[in-house]
Every structure is written in C-alpha cells, then in structure tokens.
C-alpha cells in the first residue's frame, strides 16, 4: 500500500515538472503583459508586477493597431467558412451514404484522393486564379478556398452510414423532400460529429497563417495571426508588454472555449486527428 502511494507521488511530481515547462510560455506571456517596460528589461520572472502596467499594455494593444478589427475578421471568416462547409458537405455526404446512384463510388474515390492534398500544394494555382478574376485581398479570398472540406464530407459520410435506413424511409413516407431529410433528419442525428468537425474547422482557420499571408495586402481584412505578426514587425518592435497583451487577447477565445468544454474539444481533435 505504501509503495503504491509512493509511486503516485513520484508520478504527480513528474507531471508537475512537465506542466511547468508546458505552461512556461503562457506564464511569460501573461506576466509580461502586466508589467512596465523597465521591469520587463530587468528580466524578472516574478508573477506580480512591481508596478501594474496592465491597463496601459492592453490599451496600447487595442489602440496602436486595429486589434478588435482583426478579431472581428477572424470571427467573420471562421464562421463563414464553417457554415459554407456544412452547406456543401452535408448534402454530398448524404448522397454518398444513403442514396444508390451511378457514380457514387467514383465521387467517393475523388473525396479520398482529395484528402491527400495538403493546402500548401494548391496555393499557387488558386492564387493565380484569384489574381486573374481580381478577388485577391478580400473576404472572399480568405473564405472561398476552404468552402470545400473533403474531410468534412468523409467524416459526415462515415457518421451517416451508422444512421438506420428506416429513419430515412420514415421521413420519405412523411413526404419530406430529400434535401429536407438532410437538414431535418440527418443533421440533428449527426450533431456530435458535426460539433467535432466544427471544432476542428474553427481551430484550423482561426489559427491559419499561410493563406491570409499570401492573399491579403490590406490591413482591413487581416485575421488575428496575421495581425500579431505585423505588430511584432512594425508597431511594437521591442515593446514586449503590448505585444504579449495582444498575444493573450488572440489566444484567449479558443483557450477559454477549451477550458469550458474540455471534453468536447479533446474528443473532436482526437476524432479529426484520425484523418
């Protein structure tokens, strides 16, 4: 009995040490965002600032750059992407799982093939295409390339396969149209899978840096990751206080959502990690 207790203490100790390393950047980020420049230059690691500078740092983060605008852009872009992905993927996933038709195998094969294609690989032609039709540097440029999520189709198809056919037949008996079945029968049963996919999609596009970097030139469309990298280069330089305040603000929405719905997030990521 004593031996087991001892083992548990050792394990907890190792976990504490690991957690200190994992959390160190967050600690540095948050404590620095509260301190005055002189104190930051001293390089103290104390959690409590000698002189509270939080208000100045956070005010500067929001006023020196349009941080609120960047956050709003992030919300507009991630929400639009997710809604369009669902509108396009769900009917296709339904056709691939619950209807018998010529070409189904071929289309599913295409979906599997497209799963192989990493986003960086199509960047050049999509960029050239957007350049030629003149929609670079716009919300459309940020949203359109992601409207098709083959992963979403794949995931929802796998889930729809487990929905009993009787449910679909019963809906047909009730005179619901096929498109009505997608939204009024399949969607409600698929909510857990859809939540997982939504979490995956929002994280991926809130954090995306490569594509916004390529297509945007105007500040007004910047998303948070692009915003902070520009901050660092231009506005603040070595003003770490406001820079760390901005970083805190940008990671806050997802981290708070994660802390509130931890289990859902981890399930979602595990499921989609199996991609």
């Amino acid at each position: 009995m004593r031996r087991i207790r001892f083992g548990e203490i050792i394990k907890q100790l190792v976990l504490v040490i690991g957690a200190i390393i994992i959390l160190a950047p967050f600690y540095q980020m948050i404590t620095t965002s509260l301190k005055a420049p002189s104190e930051i230059a001293d390089g103290t690691l104390s959690p409590i600032p000698r002189e509270w500078h939080a208000v100045q740092n956070y005010t500067e983060a929001f006023t020196a750059t349009p941080l609120a605008r960047y956050m709003l852009n992030g919300v507009i872009v991630t929400a639009s992407i997710f809604i369009l992905q669902v509108l396009i993927a769900l009917p296709c996933a339904y056709a691939l799982s619950k209807l018998r038709w010529w070409g189904r195998e071929v289309v599913f094969g295409l979906v599997l093939f497209c799963l192989l294609i990493p986003p960086h690989a199509v960047a050049i032609p999509v960029y050239l295409m957007f350049h030629s039709i003149g929609i670079l540097d716009s919300y459309a440029a940020l949203i359109v390339p992601w409207t098709i999520s083959v992963f979403g189709i794949f995931l929802m198809r796998q889930f729809f396969m487990t929905v009993p056919d009787d449910l679909v037949d019963a809906a047909r008996m009730d005179g619901i149209s096929e498109l009505g079945i997608v939204w009024r029968v399949m969607l409600p049963t698929a909510l857990p899978a859809l939540t997982a996919f939504g979490i995956f999609s929002v994280i991926a596009h809130w954090n995306d840096y490569f594509w916004p970097l390529i297509v945007l030139s105007s500040r007004e469309f910047y998303t948070p990751p692009l915003g902070i990298s520009v901050f660092r280069n231009e506005e603040f330089g070595f003003e770490f206080g406001p820079l760390m305040a901005a970083a805190t603000v940008i990671i806050a929405p997802l981290v708070i959502a994660f802390i509130v719905a931890q289990r859902r997030f981890i399930e979602g990521i595990t499921l989609t990690g199996m991609k």
């Binding site: 907890q12 056709a95 070409g103 295409l110 093939f113 390529i214």
Partner: protein, 312 residues
C-alpha cells in the same frame, strides 16, 4: 441494380418500370446534392494539382504574357539549386527530430496521466493547452522566451551555467529551437491520440501479466502495452510526419529561413519562390516534390499502418 433484382424476383413489368423511374429520380437527386461539392473539388483541389504539375514543365512567371514548355528544365534547375537541397535536408532533420521528440513525450504523458489516481482530466487539459493556442501568437512568445537578454529560457539555462545566446539567430541553434517549439505544440496532440489507443487495451491483460509474475510496471509496459501500442505509434508517427513536413508558420515569423538558410524548409522555399519572387514555374516544381513526399507518407499510412491498426 434494383431493376434487375426486381425483374428476377418476378415483379410485374410495370413495377420494374416504376423502379426505373425511381432510380432515375434518385440519380438526379444524388447528382444535384453532390454537384456543388464535386464542382468545388475540381475547381479548388484536383484542378490546381493538375495545374501545378503542368506549370512545373513551363518557364512561366506571374505577369508573363506567354510561356514555353521547357520539359524538365525547371527540375534540372532545382537539382542544381543548393538552397533546394538545403531545404530538403532541413525539412528531413526537422521531421526527424519532431517525430521522436513529440512521440516519446506524448506517450510518456499519456501513460503517466492514465496511471495516476487524482487529477487526470486536469493534467490532460494542461498538456493539451498548446494544441489550442494560435501558433503564431505563441511563436512570438517563444521568441521572447528565447531572447538572449531577458528571455526565460536564457535565464533558466544561465542558472545552470549555460551561456545565453540568441538561439534563433545562430546557424547551429535556430533549427533545433524551431523543433523545440514544434515538439512543445505537438506533444499534447499525440498524447490524446495515445490515450485513445490506451483505452482500447483491456485491463485484464495487465492483471493477467501481474498474476503470471510480471511484477514491475516497467516490465508490464514492454510485455503488454508496447506490443499493442506499436500500430498506434506508427500511426501517430505518420501523422506527425505529415504535419511537420508542412512547417511554415514559425519559420516565417521567427527566422525567415535564416540565418544563412539554416532554417530554410520546403514550404518556406515554395512560399519565397511563388509569392515573393513570383517564379511560378519553379515554385510549382518545388510543390510537386512536396506533394510527392506527402503522397508517399499518406499511402504508407493507408496501406501499411491502418491495415495493421485494424487487424490488431
């Protein structure tokens, strides 16, 4: 097929005709339901992949009014380009460090957390936190942490007598520093994948081993857990490889491929050639190489690893 079945089953012809109509109707409905997805797949994924392939055989740059087919000349240029080989080598080193680093630490964290009695979900959340955090924001924080003067890393290392330096600006430490950030971020992701794998191992096996005299947890790990986890580990390794092959964000924000190409990686070179120098054909040839690597890794995953995972 339903018409054949209907006729063979001795249904009346009129019923078979109705069934043909029903089939036609479903054909139409299914096509319409999947048409947007199919069109976008061709427009945004399959078409562009074909375009990249074609572009790589031309000499076209953005802004040129016409182009020539140059066969393999672009690839010839690539093979003779030292930066390309540097990028390949760096990418492979990066992947080669991040895979074992994030797997060993991720598995370690998963095993530890599964074996303690208190605080499991707390620890899991803590170790998972970096996965949730915007990498660009955290890269900026890491840059500060690695700052030679007042960064936390330098201070802690200084405590142990290691001399502080600008880790991200030195040719021999810049790439390892990027690997460190990647491992820090990927560890929690791999941990939850391992946890999913661990729950599929029946507890009775551990108890059986214990009854059979395998006393230490260490021996039980190698005897029971590890053989059953090998397929999961392979799977996690491939996923980590595919993800780290695409490293770009930290390179762009922290080092720009420098110093002296010490952190030049494949996707960063594609970005430079394609979107800074606008040499579209050369960037396309690089993309073809990049795609080749990703395809190989994915095929390996589908045909070797997933088969094993299913048969375990």
């Amino acid at each position: 097929m339903s018409t054949h079945e209907a006729v063979q089953a001795g249904e009346t012809p009129s019923f078979a005709a109705a069934s043909v109509r029903a089939r036609m109707r479903y054909q139409l409905i299914a096509t319409m339901l999947s048409a947007p997805a199919i069109a976008l797949m061709f427009l945004l994924l399959i078409g562009p992949v074909v375009a990249v392939l074609l572009l790589s055989f031309t000499d076209w740059s953005l802004g040129d009014s016409d182009f020539n087919w140059v066969d393999m000349a672009t690839y010839q240029e690539m093979v003779e380009d030292d930066i390309f080989w540097k990028a390949i080598a760096n990418t492979l080193i990066y992947v080669g460090i991040v895979i074992p680093g994030s797997i060993i630490l991720g598995l370690g964290a998963a095993l530890l957390i599964e074996s303690v009695t208190v605080g499991r979900s707390f620890w899991r959340a803590v170790y998972f936190l970096p996965v949730m955090s915007t990498l660009i924001a955290m890269a900026v924080v890491w840059e500060f942490m690695l700052n030679a003067k007042f960064g936390m890393v330098s201070q802690v290392l200084g405590f142990f007598g290691v001399e502080a330096k600008s880790w991200l600006q030195e040719p021999d430490t810049a790439l390892p520093a990027l690997c460190l950030i990647a491992i820090w971020q990927a560890l929690g992701f791999n941990m939850v994948l391992f946890m999913a794998g661990l729950t599929s191992i029946p507890r009775e096996l551990h108890n059986a081993a214990e009854v059979d005299g395998v006393r230490s947890a260490w021996d039980r790990f190698w005897l029971v857990t590890w053989p059953l986890l090998t397929p999961v580990t392979m799977f996690v390794a491939i996923i980590t490889a595919i993800r780290s092959f695409q490293v770009f964000d930290t390179v762009h924000v922290l080092t720009k491929g420098g110093p002296d190409n010490a952190t030049m990686v494949l996707v960063y070179q594609i970005y430079q050639e394609g979107f800074e120098f606008f040499r579209s054909s050369y960037a396309s040839a690089l993309t073809v190489v990049f795609l080749g690597f990703i395809f190989l890794l994915t095929l390996f995953k589908v045909f070797v690893v997933e088969r094993k995972v299913h048969y375990q």
